[in-house]
């Protein structure tokens, strides 16, 4: 499918909903100098084209009290003839525990983010599900101890800045 050329407003629209996908069409329309219909059409089109993949919330699960652990898992794999890395990547990605999976340059081939209820669940997942897979040569599990920034947002507590109510 030939990809339609995006204009400045499409780009700005993407930026705005990436930042907050709950912004109403009315507000988006004002900000972009469009009408609501125009905003809706653009969003629909970009959804259909797969430019907008999904809408999700960024949640601090720790605060929610559902203590779970996250780990970065790095894998060395042997690429398959005819398929390269793609087929094995798909097989790994199907696991629910895998939150993200990327082909990377450097010493390892894949980097993935894995969630589990606790450390045991993560290590069991690695040793029982991932490590035994065909083509996997080596794994390295890196436990995430604390998250400071996620999706472009800093999560640590910041001191409010002092600002005068009036200035010129």
């Amino acid at each position: 499918m030939p990809v339609r050329l995006m204009d400045e407003k499409d780009r700005m629209l993407l930026k705005l909903i990436e930042e907050d996908c709950r912004t109403s069409y009315a507000v988006l329309a004002d900000m972009l100098d469009l009408d609501e219909d125009g905003v809706e059409k653009r969003i629909r089109r970009m959804e259909e084209e797969g430019i907008i993949r999904n809408y999700s919330a960024c949640i601090d699960w720790e605060k929610a009290g559902d203590g779970h652990v996250a780990a970065i898992l790095e894998l060395k794999v042997t690429p398959e003839r005819d398929f390269g890395y793609d087929k094995i990547a798909e097989r790994i990605a199907h696991h629910n525990q895998v939150r993200s999976l990327r082909l990377i340059s450097g010493a390892y081939d894949f980097s993935m983010l894995v969630y589990g209820k606790d450390i045991h669940e993560v290590t069991r997942f690695v040793s029982e599900q991932i490590a035994p897979m065909e083509h996997i040569k080596e794994t390295a599990t890196i436990l995430i101890m604390k998250t400071y920034k996620e999706n472009g947002y800093e999560i640590f507590e910041k001191k409010g800045r002092e600002r005068l109510p009036y200035s010129f």
């Binding site: 700005m12 507000v27 004002d30 900000m31 100098d33 600002r163 005068l164 109510p165 009036y166 200035s167």
Partner: protein
């Protein structure tokens, strides 16, 4: 005991906004659109550069005119962006904010009794600056029907044989009015024919949302009679650092430098290192802030119009300047009641000069949520009138 205060200081009228300050201070839950500064923190790389400079012991005075590297970067920026050529050697000096640049520009050219044409509505420091030099401020109105630009007709009306200086600021605080290159060209003949000096405060130049920003000195015949003032406060969200600059032909620049070397010595050194980093690697951050101001402007101005406060679409800076004339209230009464009864702080337009009467200066350098809440409160207020 005598009254020790000088006549010049006494002649400066008390700030029209003091009363609002006092009311606002007592209140909780106010939304302030009264701020004249960005709501962003200074970009991190810029802050890091200053921290590094301090760690390395760059804590002494710089030369009076400022770090050579910073002057070179400014020279290149002004040339690349506006086509204006100032030598970093003797035509650019670093000041303690555009504020100082304004002060020494005025003081280095105005004699007592000189008339200084001030395009208004204008930044509040202009009138006092002129008066402290013994000059006589003469207001040149820039009105809504001209999109708050300075027109040749308005200028002709006020120019006299005593006029020496024209002081203007575009993109304009408080109106958001912008002068294009053609707009400057249109007034350049008058400036030249009447042998005026132009002091052009271009501190909001990067915050232009429609059309290309222009610098007055890029117009044929103006460079040699222009003092260009700019700074880092708005474009890079650096109000607290106190760093700006003044550019002018050598004779004028060294006149200003004469005052600067005695009253200021040099601009804050750490801030100058920060400014170097801003000009080198701050442009992405600047562009990000400008695009956010742009969408906030659209959101706020459209919402205001729907709420019943007519407001032109400002092309620059970060102020909307709606009219309250239809409400039957003066801008001062409107602003005071809006603050007391609905907890929204805005600045009455008359603070900025006679052409500001009947308008409110509303800064949209605040979060989108606050803008929408403010509009809702304003709408409620208008509904009661």
């Amino acid at each position: 005991m005598r009254d020790f205060r000088s006549e010049r200081v006494k002649a400066i009228p008390p700030s029209g906004i003091r009363k609002f300050f006092d009311i606002a201070q007592e209140m909780e839950d106010i939304i302030s659109l009264g701020v004249g500064e960005p709501d962003y923190d200074t970009p991190w790389n810029v802050r890091e550069a200053a921290i590094r400079s301090i760690e390395q012991g760059q804590t002494a005075y710089t030369s009076n005119s400022g770090l050579p590297e910073l002057r070179s970067l400014i020279s290149r920026y002004l040339f690349d962006r506006f086509g204006v050529d100032y030598s970093p050697k003797n035509e650019i000096m670093i000041t303690t904010g555009a504020s100082e640049a304004l002060d020494i520009a005025i003081r280095s050219v105005v004699n007592p009794g000189d008339e200084v044409l001030v395009a208004e509505p204008a930044y509040i420091a202009y009138t006092s600056g002129v008066m402290l030099s013994g000059g006589i401020p003469v207001y040149v109105p820039c009105t809504e029907k001209d999109h708050f630009r300075l027109t040749p007709d308005a200028l002709m009306e006020k120019v006299t044989p005593k006029s020496k200086v024209l002081l203007c600021n575009f993109p304009n605080n408080p109106s958001g009015g912008v002068m294009s290159k053609d707009d400057y060209k249109a007034i350049s003949d008058i400036i030249i024919d009447h042998d005026l000096l132009l002091i052009s405060d271009e501190i909001y130049n990067e915050l232009t949302y429609e059309g290309e920003p222009a610098s007055a000195a890029s117009i044929d015949g103006l460079r040699e009679r222009t003092i260009t003032i700019n700074g880092f406060s708005k474009a890079f969200s650096m109000t607290g650092w106190r760093v700006g600059y003044l550019c002018a032909p050598e004779e004028l620049c060294s006149a200003a430098l004469k005052i600067h070397q005695y009253v200021m010595l040099s601009a804050p050194t750490g801030a100058q290192y920060a400014a170097v980093e801003a000009l080198k690697n701050g442009w992405d951050s600047c562009a990000g802030m400008v695009s956010e101001y742009h969408v906030r402007r659209n959101l706020f101005v459209k919402s205001l119009n729907r709420a019943g406060l007519p407001c032109h679409m400002p092309k620059g800076a970060f102020y909307a300047f709606p009219s309250v004339k239809d409400t039957g209230l003066s801008d001062v009464v409107f602003a005071e009641r809006l603050l007391k009864e609905h907890k929204v702080a805005v600045v009455p337009g008359s603070v900025f000069g006679p052409s500001g009467e009947g308008h409110l200066r509303c800064s949209y350098a605040v979060s989108r949520d606050d803008l929408l809440t403010a509009v809702a409160r304003i709408e409620e207020f208008i509904g009661k009138l």
